[in-house]
Each structure stands twice: as structure tokens, then as C-alpha cells.
């Protein structure tokens, strides 16, 4: 009797201590690690084993079960193709960012533009409204490219022609005294500059 009581109390004590530690830490991983030492105890938080992703579905029944798990219709559910990268049975959702969703519809989470229970894209953290935007451009992409490169190309061509055929006033170069300001321009004072004569006209 005493021994069995001792076992029970020990278990409860261990359990209490485990729950105390659970109260202080908020990470589920840490909880699992801490509670892993006590195999009789499991936290109530976190997804249950049935809610976590599983292996790639092979049979139609597995497909249906996976669709139900991800809260999708069986017709809509399409797993990510199994190419060895380890996606398992996670669904392939369209690569559309949250920018493209209706801003005026009353979403459950307006900032994320998502309703409760909706399947989450694999890259949902990339597609939030602060990050990658896949919404269509106002004008077709090829039109934008044509306009930009056409304009830049035209400007480059015109600048090149401007270098080739410069525009100038029909005047002779300006005449400076003292042999074209030989000393003022910092040339060698010993060297005799060539004689430059300027005339009135």
C-alpha cells in the first residue's frame, strides 16, 4: 500500500513539476523536450498526431483522409508532387499573394485576408501583404518591357548621335592674349611659347 501510494505521489509530483515547467515556457518544442523525460505526461497544447502532415498519399482513401485533414474538398485537394524534397501530403495551393484577395470582403483575419480553417500555403509567410506581391501589373508585362527598353534605347541613340554630330554656334574659337595665356595656364615658364598673333576684323 505505502509503496503504491509512494509511486502515485511520485508520479503526481513529477507531473506537477512538469506542469510548472510548462507554465514558465511557452515553446511547444521546449515543452516536448522537458516532458520527454517524463513518459507518462503529454501536454494538451500543439497539434494532435492526426493533424500533422503525413507521407505522400498513395491510395484514393489516403487522399480523401488528407483532404479532410487539411479542411479541403476532395476535388480541390492536390498534394505537392513527390520529387523527394519531403513535402509529404501537403496540398499544392495556387502561388497567389494576399495582395490579390478582395480587400473589401470581411475576412476573419483582415490583415492576413484569411478565414479561420482555410488551408495555409506552404510559403504563406512570403505572401503576406508586407512581402511578395503577385498581383497582375496594370499593363501587360511585354508592353511595359517594350515601352521601357524602347525609350531607353531611343535616348541612348540620340545621345550617341549628339556626340557624333555636336551642335555649336557658328563662331571661331575665343582668342586669348599672351600666347594663349601660356603662363596663366601653368605651362613651363622657361619654354618659349609659339608666337600667336590675333588681328582685328
Amino acid at each position: 500500500m505505502r509503496i503504491s501510494l509512494f509511486n502515485v505521489t511520485a508520479t503526481i509530483e513529477h507531473g506537477c513539476r512538469g506542469f510548472q515547467k510548462l507554465g514558465s515556457s511557452s515553446f511547444q518544442g521546449e515543452t516536448a523536450r522537458l516532458l520527454g523525460a517524463f513518459s507518462q505526461i503529454r501536454a494538451a497544447s500543439g497539434p494532435s498526431k492526426g493533424m500533422l502532415p503525413g507521407p505522400y498519399p498513395q491510395t484514393p482513401e489516403e487522399r480523401a483522409a488528407a483532404a479532410k485533414k487539411y479542411n479541403m474538398r476532395v476535388e480541390d485537394y492536390e498534394p505537392i508532387p513527390d520529387n523527394g524534397e519531403g513535402y509529404g501530403d501537403y496540398p499544392q495551393l495556387p502561388d497567389r499573394s494576399q495582395h490579390e484577395r478582395d480587400p473589401w470582403y470581411s475576412w476573419d483575419h483582415p490583415d492576413l485576408r484569411r478565414n479561420w480553417g482555410e488551408p495555409i500555403h506552404w510559403d504563406f509567410d512570403m505572401f503576406i501583404r508586407n512581402r511578395v506581391d503577385t498581383s497582375p501589373s496594370p499593363v501587360a508585362w511585354h508592353t511595359m518591357c517594350k515601352h521601357l527598353f524602347g525609350f531607353v534605347g531611343f535616348m541612348l541613340l540620340m545621345f550617341y548621335l549628339g556626340e557624333k554630330f555636336p551642335s555649336y554656334q557658328p563662331v571661331a574659337p575665343k582668342q586669348y592674349p599672351y600666347s594663349n595665356l601660356h603662363l596663366e595656364r601653368g605651362e613651363d615658364p622657361e619654354k618659349q611659347p609659339e608666337e600667336v598673333k590675333h588681328f582685328n576684323i
Partner: protein, 121 residues
Amino acid sequence: MGAHLARRYITETETEPDPAKPFGFDPEFGFGERKEREMVASQAQMNLAQVPVLQRDYCAHHLIKLMKCKRDNWPNFLACKHERHDWDYCEHQDYVMRMKEYERERRLQMRKKRVEEAQAA
């Protein structure tokens, strides 16, 4: 306004002068007697007045007078109208001379071409 450019690049590409290249004809050619341009301000005077190098041309004496007038009359920035006009007029005459030199060069080039064509014919 752009006739010289049309001549230079399209119609008379050989004879229209290029101001970037030096003009090759003898300065006395076609003149009976030509007066040399007179430089009034000396190099020492221009140095003392600290005239910028690009403004040390044949009108520098007017510019030095203007600078002195402005320095003496500051803050009255409307004071030196006469000196400014003298300097501007000198610069204007210098520019007109540049235009005349260009035109002279152009006419000499055309004459040279005519002479060559007459000799070839």
C-alpha cells in the same frame, strides 16, 4: 539659326569649317593691312586683380574696372551700370569678331573649292 549645322552635316560637308580644328589660312590673305588686337591690361595687373583665367581675354581691362567699381560701391549692387555696359560692349564686339572670323574661314574654303574645281575642269 541652324543653317550652319545643316551645311556642315548634310549639304556642304567639305567646305563648312569645324571650329574644333585650327583655321589654316594666312591671316593677312585678302586684307591690305590688318591691325593687331591690342591687349590693354598687363599680366601683372590681371594677377593683382585676381581675374579668373577664362576671363583674361582682350576685354580684361574693362572687367578690372568693373570689379573695382563693384568692390567700392557694395552693397549698392545697382551702381556700376556704366562699367558693366562697357565690359558687355567689349565682349559683344569680341563675339562679333568671332562670327566674322568663322564666316571668313567658310568663304575661303568655298573659294578654295571653286578654284580646285576650275583647275580640274
